[in-house]
Each structure stands twice: as C-alpha cells, then as structure tokens.
Amino acid sequence: MTTLEVLVLVLVGAGAAVVVATRHPVRQVVLLSMYGAVLMVLFLVLQAPDVALSELSVGTVVLPLLLLLGLAKVGGSRT
C-alpha cells in the first residue's frame, strides 16, 4: 500500500464514523454527500475511474437529494 492509499483509507474510515455519529438527519445527509466524495477519491486512487464516476454521481448527488426530499416530506428537519 502506498502512503496515499493509507491516507485515503483512513479518511474513508473517519468519514464513515462521522456520518454514523451524526444525529441530526439533515446534517447527516450533507455529511453523507461529502463522504461520497471521499469514497470517490478512494476509488480514483485505487485506479477505478469508472467506479469513481458512479460514486460521484450517485453518492454525492442523487442519493443525498432523494434523502433530503424524503426528509422534507416527513418533516425530519424539525426533529
């Protein structure tokens, strides 16, 4: 493993922990979106650019958007 790979893997672990530890739903969605970007960097470092593209579009854009819309519908931002 190169230093860069170790660094990004540690970032991915820390990012996942932060997302899980966040209690406020809306903040959690925003952090999840950023975590998707970190995961994208990991795939890029591991030389899988097409997987990185999928992660970028689904993990940082579509999934958070759907979750936010769901939260808006059920009123999760008020909790």
């Binding site: 097409d50 593209l53 579009s57 579509v62 958007l65 819309l69």
Partner: protein, 255 residues
C-alpha cells in the same frame, strides 16, 4: 436461560465467528495483488477482439453483457416501483406549491438565493454535455452509459435547484420519461434478441468492429449498448426524482 448462560453462549458463538473470519482473512491475497487469470486474459485480448479501448466497458457490455442486462432491469423495475408506490392516492390532493394553507401563519418559505439559482443554471449546460460525452464514449475511455445517464439526470435536477420546478415538470413529463426509459431498456434487450435472430450467441458483437481500435465509431455493439443504457438510466433517475419532488412539493394529504 439465565443471563450468565446467555453470555457464555454468546462468547462461544462470537469466538467461533472471529476464528472463522481470521482464518478466512489469512488466506486472502495481499492488498493490491491479483491472482486470477481472467483479468490478464481480458487485458491481452479485449482491444483485439472488440476494438474498444475502454476495457471496463468491453467487460460490462460484451464479455458479461448478460449480467449488465439484468442490472439494467433492476433499475428499470426500481423506477417503475417508485412511480407505483408514490402515485397520488385517493385521500391525497395535488395542491399548488406555495398555496395559502401551506404557509404557517406569519412565516414565508425562504426563497432560493440568487447565488444558488445562477450557479445551478450555469452548471446545467456543462453537466449535460459531460453526461452526453460519458454516455457516448464508453468504448474509448473509462465511462459508460450508467455514469453518463446519472450525470445527465443531475443536470435535470439542477434545473429544479435553480428554482424552476415548473420548467422541470415541462422538460420531464412522466409520460415522456416512462416512454424513454422503456425504449432504453427495450433497446438493450432487443439488441440481444437481434443477435440471436442472426444466429449469433446472445449479445454477441455482431456489428462491424470498425477501425482503428479506440475510435468513437469502433467497437460494434459496445457503443450501442452503452447508449441504450444511458438513455434508460437518465429516464429512470429523472422519473424517480420527479416522483419524489411531486410527493414533497405537490401532493398533500386531505386530512
């Protein structure tokens, strides 16, 4: 069972599980080490066999095209399922966004800021072009119909983000997105059936491969399948987004 007995049982089970996991991990190849022959075989043969330089696309749309067809229909069924579950029910009405009964007394919804609207609009065109490029260049470089389709769908989402829900509805009426989705999924499946009709194996690369390898019009069916997948994916994601937006903005419970 006493708590103590339960704990002992748990510890026995967990130590067995840990032992199995450690045993399994001990036999895993080292990080970044690849031992199987298939990757090397595909690496050596793919460009010659398919004239596609995007080897991942060659694997996705040719060597294991049948698997991709299955994944394609997972998304297709998921989008249809969302559209079915989130339809307007009998005890719900479609109100207009911002109707009077929607506003809490004395409070107005925060309007979208000019910065968000302008940057969303500014990015819509470039994002659409990037998505189109990814969809149509699966055979030449790391990209593909799925990635391109999702990127194009996010361009449509940017239109909504720019505060133009009405425009969003106008450029993506449900009838249109459903039809386009079916055309994309059906095109992929019909292409496979077409290869059977001409006497080749399912999803075989029956079209002229073109030359040179790596050209945009080379690779035969790979480019075509990527295009169908892109069409299906963009329609499926726009349809899902549309249903979610409609639930959030338009549909109101009558109670």
């Amino acid at each position: 069972m006493t708590p103590r007995a339960r704990l002992v049982l748990f510890l026995v089970g967990v130590s067995g599980l840990v032992a199995f996991i450690v045993w399994g991990l001990a036999g895993v190849p080292a990080f970044g080490r690849y031992r199987g022959p298939y990757g090397y075989l595909v690496d050596a043969l793919a460009i010659h066999q398919t004239h596609a330089t995007g080897i991942v696309s060659a694997v996705n749309f040719y060597y294991r095209g049948f698997d991709t067809l299955g994944e394609e229909f997972i998304l297709f069924v998921a989008a249809v399922g969302v559209a079915t579950v989130l339809r307007t029910l009998r005890d719900e009405t479609e109100g207009s966004p911002g109707a009077d009964d929607e506003r809490a007394a004395g409070r107005l919804a925060t309007p979208t800021s000019e910065t968000v609207r302008t940057s969303a609009l500014a990015f819509t065109g470039p994002v659409l072009v990037v998505g189109w490029f990814l969809t149509t260049h699966a055979q030449t470089s790391p990209s593909g119909g799925f990635q391109g389709g999702v990127v194009m769908a996010s361009a449509v989402a940017l239109v909504y983000l720019a505060g133009h829900y009405v425009v969003f509805k106008r450029i993506s009426p449900v009838d249109l997105t459903e039809t386009v989705e079916a055309l994309g999924a059906g095109g992929f499946a019909l292409l496979g059936i077409g290869t059977l009709v001409v006497g080749a194996p399912f999803l075989a690369d029956v079209l002229p491969l073109g030359a040179p390898a790596g050209a945009v019009d080379a690779s035969g069916t790979i480019a075509l399948i990527s295009f169908f997948v892109g069409v299906e994916v963009v329609a499926a994601f726009v349809l899902i987004l549309d249903e979610f937006l409609e639930q959030t903005i338009v549909v109101r419970s009558r109670r």
